[in-house]
Amino acid sequence: MEILVCARRVPDTSENEIALNSAGNDIERDELVYSINEPDNYAVEEALQIAARAGGNVTVVTVGGEDDEEILRREMAMGANHGVLITDGAFAGSDGRGIATILKAFVQKGNYDLILTGVQAEDGAAQVGGMLAAMLDYPFASLVNAIEVLDGKKLKISREIEGGNKEMNEIDLPCVLSIQTGINEPRYVGMRGIRAVASVPIPTYGAVELGVAAGTVGEAAAKVKRVDYFVPTLGRGAEMLEGDREENIEKLLQLVAAKGGLK
C-alpha cells in the first residue's frame, strides 16, 4: 500500500512561551522552537505500522520553506521511505483551500492508496484533509483512532465521537483520513536517527512541477484572511467550594456529574 502523510511544522507548544507580537497580528517568533505538528507525527507512525503489516511505502510531504525540511528528516528517521518538500514563493500566504489545492496536485502526480493527515495543525483550522478529499473526490473520515486493513480495497476504521466513544466504519480506498492523537505510541527519534538520514536527498516541487496555476494559490487567492490575534481576557478564578468535607465531596460529585464526568 502506498501511503502519503501530509505533515506540517509548527511552533512546539510545550517548549515555547507563546506571546503576541507588538503589532498584534502574529505571535512573537524570534525564539520559537519548531517541531512536527503532533497529530501528524501520530499519522506517520500509523502509516509506518500499516506499511509494516500490509507492505508498501510511506511518503511524508509538507508545504513550506527550506526550514521545514527538518521535520521531513525526523519522519524519515522514524522510518518513512521518502520525504518531499513542496515549496514555491507563489504558495506563501495560502489559506487552507490553497494548501489543499497544492496537495491535490501533488497527490495526482503519484499513485497513493491512502492519504493521512493529522487531525489538525496546532496553528491551523483542521480543514485541509477534508478539502483535499473533496477536491480528489475521495472518501474522507476525520478523528480516526484505529485502522485495520480489510483487503486491498477497504479499511475498517474507528472514529472518536463524543464522550470518548468509538464509531466503527468501513471506508473504500483510496481515501483521506485525519488521524487523532492516541491512535498509537509514536516511536522515539533521536539525533542519531536524524543524522543517519541527513544526506538523503529530499526532492522539492514548485508550482511549475506540480502544474498549479499561480493564481489559484497564495495570498492573492486566499479567501480566508487572518485579520487579528487576541488573547482572551482572564475569566473568573476557580470556584471555591465552602463547607465541611462531606458537603464539599457531595457538591463536587454533583458538579462533575453535571459536566458528564460521572455516569
Binding site: D12, S14, E15, N16, E17, E31, V33, S35, M78, E185, P186, R187, Y188, V189, G190, M191, R192, G193, R195, A196
Partner: protein, 710 residues
C-alpha cells in the same frame, strides 16, 4: 598405604582394579568438565569486546580484598560468616582434594611439601575444615528449609522457587565432606584394630567422630567402607564439578575471574562500544544491547557468576516498592536464556531480541541507577552498565515511553527537559531583590571568574529548587569566591540523558557545555547537584576539576571561613540522606556530615540505611518524568525510614532528592511533622555573618521569597 586395608587403588571390585576404575572416572570427569566449560565459553567469545586486562595490580588488590578477603560478606552477618567459613574451608581443602583424587590412581602419592610434620599439621587443619564445612552445609540447608530468608523467595512472575536446587547443591557438598571423612575414618579405624599407630588424632572432628563410631566394625567391612567412601567421594566430586556450571554454584569456579576483571571505577558508564571513539560512533550500526551477544564477555561472566544470594534485590529501591525490576532476576533470566540459547548439545540458534522476551521494557526503565545492587554484590557483578546498554538498545529502536519522549525532545531543542526558554535560565539569580543580596555574574567575554557555579536544569528552572541555587551562590559569595554562572549558555549536564540510554543527545549536550566551560576560562567548577557533579567528573573530559558544594562548605568550616550560629530549635532531630551520586558513586559521605556536626546544637541521627547502604529517593532527572508501575513511592519508604530513626528534619544535598522527599512527606501524611532541607540551604541559613555589609544583606535576606528552607 597401611596394611590391613587395601588402598582404594589396589582394590578390585567387580573384576575392575580400583586404579583403572578411578583413572576412568578421572578422565571422564575432567573431560566432561572441560567440555562443559568450553561450551560455556562459546558466547563469551562471540560477545562484545571489553578491555579488562589493564591495571593488574589494582585487579590483584580487588582479588585480595573481595575474593580472598570476602570483604562484602559480613554485610549480611549470619550468611556472610557462614560463607567465609565455607570459603576458607574450601581453600584449605583444595590441596587435600587434589591429593585424595590422585591417591586413587597412585596409592602412595603425597603432595610435595606435605610429608612429615607439615603433612600432619595440614591433615589436622583439613580435618577440622571439613568438619566446619559440613556443619555449615547442615546449617545452610536448615536455614533454607526452615527459616526461609525472604531474599531467597522467587516471586511468581519469575518462575519456581530455587530452594530444591540450592539444597541439592548444599547436600552434595555435605556428602563430599562426609565421604572424605568416612574414607579417612575407616582407614584409621582399621589401623586401630590392627594395633598400628593411628594417624587420625583430631578430636571431635568429623573423621574422628566417624572413626570412634566405627571402632567395633569388623575389618573386612571397614575395607569395603573405605573403598565405597572413596568411590562416593570421587563420583560426588566430579558430579559437583560438572553440575556447578549449570546453576548457582558456578561461582566457585568463576568468582576469581569475575572479581579480577571487575570494574575498577565508580560513577562511570561504559562507552557505547569499547574501542570506538565518539567521532566514529555514527558508523556503528546498532547501539546498545539488543540480543544476548551484544553484552560484553565480562557481563556474560557476571551472569554465570551470580550465586543467587538475592542481596542486590534486597537493597534495590525499585524492587522494594514493587516496580517490575529485580536485579537478581536480570542476571538469573539472562543466565537461563544463555544456557538455553547455547545448549550443551548442538549449536546456538539465532538470537532473539531480549526486550519483550527475556526482559520487559518497564523492567529496564524502572532502574534509578542508584547502585545499591552493585554496592552489595559480593561477586562485584555490574548492573548499571547493563541497564544503560539495554536502554541504549531501546532508544536506538525508537522504543521509548511517551512520558520520556517529550523531555528528551525538549532537551534536544531547548537544552533542558522542561522546554523552558534558554534566556530564562539565569532568572533565579537575576531577580533584582536577590541581586542586592548576592550578585551573580553571568560569565562571558567581559566577565571572567575563577570558579564556575554549574547550576543545571532543575535548580535553574524549578521554583522550589532555585532556593538551593541562591543558597549555593550566597555560600560561594560568603567565602569570597570569585565565581559566575554560564546562564543561557549552560545546557543540561546530560547525566540522566546518558543513563537513560540517549548517548547521542548526551554527547551533544556535553560538547556544548564543555565548549562553554572552556570559553569561560574558569579554573574550577562547583555544583550543588550530585548528578551534574558526577557528569562533570566522570562523563566529561578536559573540563576543570569539579567540587560538590558540600565539599566546599566542609573545607570552609575547616579553614574557619564558615562559622555557624546555633540551631534555632534545639528540639529538632536531623538526619542526613546520602544522595546516590554523592555517596555510593563518589564516596562523599563525611563532608556533609562534618558540616552538620559543625552547627552548634544540631542533633543528628543516622537512618538504619545510610552511607553506602543509603536508600534512593526515587531517582533524579528523567526519572521524574517516567511513570513507573509501583505499589508505593520509593521516597515514601525513605521518609518513613527517617521517621523510624527519630528524625524530623531530613537533610539532603541534591535537588532531585528534595523533589522526591518533599513529595513523599506529603504522600506519607507527615506534613507538619517532617521537613526537608538541602545542605546548602541549611548552611546558608546557619552561617554567621559578622561584617556590617553582610548584616545589611541579611536584612534583605529576610524577605520571605529568599529565606531558604522552611
Amino acid at each position: 598405604m597401611v596394611e590391613g586395608i587395601q588402598s582404594a587403588a589396589q582394590v578390585t571390585s567387580w573384576l575392575v582394579p580400583g586404579q583403572s576404575l578411578f583413572l576412568v572416572i578421572h578422565i571422564l570427569g575432567v573431560a566432561a568438565f572441560a567440555y562443559i566449560v568450553a561450551k560455556r565459553l562459546v558466547p563469551l567469545v562471540r560477545a562484545e569486546r571489553d578491555p579488562r586486562f589493564d591495571q593488574p595490580l589494582a585487579r590483584v588488590g580487588k582479588v585480595l580484598k573481595f575474593w580472598l578477603g570476602q570483604w562484602k560478606h559480613p554485610r549480611y552477618r549470619v550468611a556472610g560468616i557462614a560463607h567465609i567459613l565455607i570459603f576458607a574451608g574450601f581453600m584449605l581443602l583444595a590441596m587435600r582434594a587434589f591429593t585424595v583424587l590422585i591417591v586413587g590412581v597412585h596409592q602412595n602419592f603425597v603432595m610435595p611439601g606435605l610429608s612429615g610434620t607439615a603433612g600432619h599439621v595440614y591433615e589436622t587443619v583439613t580435618d577440622y575444615a571439613a568438619t566446619v564445612v559440613f556443619l555449615c552445609m547442615v546449617f545452610a540447608i536448615v536455614r533454607r528449609l526452615v527459616f526461609k530468608p525472604a531474599r531467597y523467595v522467587v516471586p511468581a512472575r519469575y518462575g519456581k522457587a530455587h530452594t530444591a536446587d540450592a539444597v541439592f547443591l548444599l547436600a552434595l557438598i555435605a556428602i563430599l565432606m562426609l565421604a572424605d571423612s568416612l574414607f579417612e575414618a575407616a582407614r584409621a579405624a582399621g589401623q586401630a584394630q590392627q594395633g598400628l599407630p593411628v594417624e587420625l588424632t583430631t578430636v571431635l572432628s568429623l573423621p574422628w567422630i566417624l572413626k570412634t563410631a566405627l571402632a567395633a566394625t569388623p575389618l573386612p567391612m571397614l575395607g569395603r567402607l573405605y573403598f565405597s567412601a572413596y568411590l562416593l567421594h570421587e563420583v560426588t566430586f566430579y558430579f559437583l564439578l560438572c553440575y556447578r556450571p549449570f546453576g548457582i554454584q558456578f561461582h566457585v569456579e568463576t568468582s576469581l575471574f569475575n572479581v579480577y576483571f571487575a570494574k575498577l571505577d565508580k560513577g562511570t558508564l561504559k562507552p557505547v562500544r569499547w574501542g570506538v571513539s565518539d567521532e566514529h560512533l555514527d558508523q556503528v550500526k546498532s547501539f546498545g544491547v539488543k540480543t544476548f551477544e551484544d553484552f560484553t564477555w565480562k557481563h556474560m561472566l557476571d551472569f554465570y557468576s551470580c550465586a543467587d544470594c538475592g542481596r542486590c534485590s534486597d537493597n534495590c529501591p525499585a524492587n522494594a516498592v514493587g516496580r517490575p525490576l529485580s536485579p537478581r532476576f536480570i542476571t538469573i533470566k539472562a543466565r537461563d536464556y544463555a544456557f538455553q540459547h547455547y545448549p550443551m548439545l548442538g549449536s546456538a540458534g539465532n538470537g532473539k531480541p531480549l526486550i519483550g522476551t527475556v526482559f520487559s521494557e518497564d523492567e529496564i526503565w524502572s532502574c534509578t541507577t542508584c547502585g545499591a545492587c552493585e554496592e552489595e554484590c559480593p561477586l562485584l557483578i555490574e548492573y548499571i552498565d547493563k541497564i544503560v546498554d539495554l536502554r541504549r538498545g531501546m532508544v536506538d529502536d525508537g522504543n521509548v515511553p511517551q512520558s520520556l519522549q517529550k523531555p528528551l525532545k525538549a532537551l534536544e531543542s531547548r537544552g533542558n527537559p522542561y522546554g523552558k526558554m534558554e534566556k530564562k535560565k539565569a532568572d533565579w539569580a537575576n531577580a533584582k531583590d536577590f541581586q542586592q543580596v548576592c550578585r551573580v555574574k553571568t560569565l562571558n567575554q567581559e566577565n571572567g571568574a575563577d570558579t564556575l557555579y554549574f547550576v543545571d536544569s532543575i535548580t535553574s528552572y524549578d521554583d522550589r529548587m532555585q532556593s538551593i541555587g541562591r543558597a549555593t551562590a550566597k555560600i560561594l559569595d560568603h567565602i569570597g569566591e570569585n565565581f559566575g554562572i554560564l546562564g543561557a549558555a549552560e545546557k543540561d549536564s546530560g547525566h540522566e540523558v546518558r543513563r537513560f540510554g540517549e548517548e547521542t543527545l548526551f554527547m551533544a549536550l556535553r560538547d556544548h557545555n564543555a565548549e562553554a566551560i572552556k570559553a569561560s576560562g574558569v579554573k574550577r567548577i562547583v555544583t550543588a547537584d550530585p548528578h551534574a557533579y558526577n557528569a562533570l567528573k566522570h562523563d566529561y573530559k578536559d573540563v576543570p576539576p569539579v567540587e560538590h558544594i558540600s565539599q566546599v562548605i566542609a573545607s570552609g568550616v575547616k579553614s574557619g571561613k564558615i562559622r555557624f550560629n546555633p540551631v534555632e530549635n534545639a528540639k529538632d532531630v536531623y538526619t542526613y540522606h546520602d544522595p546516590c551520586y554523592l555517596g555510593r558513586h563518589n564516596q562523599i559521605y563525611d563532608d556533609p556530615r562534618n558540616v552538620l556536626d559543625a552547627i552548634p546544637g544540631l542533633k543528628r541521627v543516622e537512618m538504619s540505611r545510610s552511607r553506602d547502604r543509603s536508600f534512593c529517593c526515587g531517582g533524579g532527572g528523567l526519572m521524574l518524568f517516567y511513570e513507573p508501575k509501583e505499589e508505593e513511592r520509593i521516597g515514601v519508604k525513605r521518609v518513613r525510614m527517617a521517621a523510624e530513626a527519630g528524625a524530623n528534619v531530613i537533610v539532603t544535598a541534591c535537588p532531585f532528592c528534595m523533589v522526591n522527599i518533599e513529595d513523599a512527606i506529603k504522600v506519607a501524611g507527615l506534613e507538619g511533622k517532617m521537613t526537608a532541607i538541602d545542605l546548602a540551604e541549611l548552611a546558608d541559613q546557619q552561617m554567621a555573618r559578622e561584617s556590617p555589609a553582610s548584616e545589611a544583606a541579611e536584612a534583605v535576606e529576610l524577605r520571605p521569597e529568599y529565606v531558604t528552607g522552611r
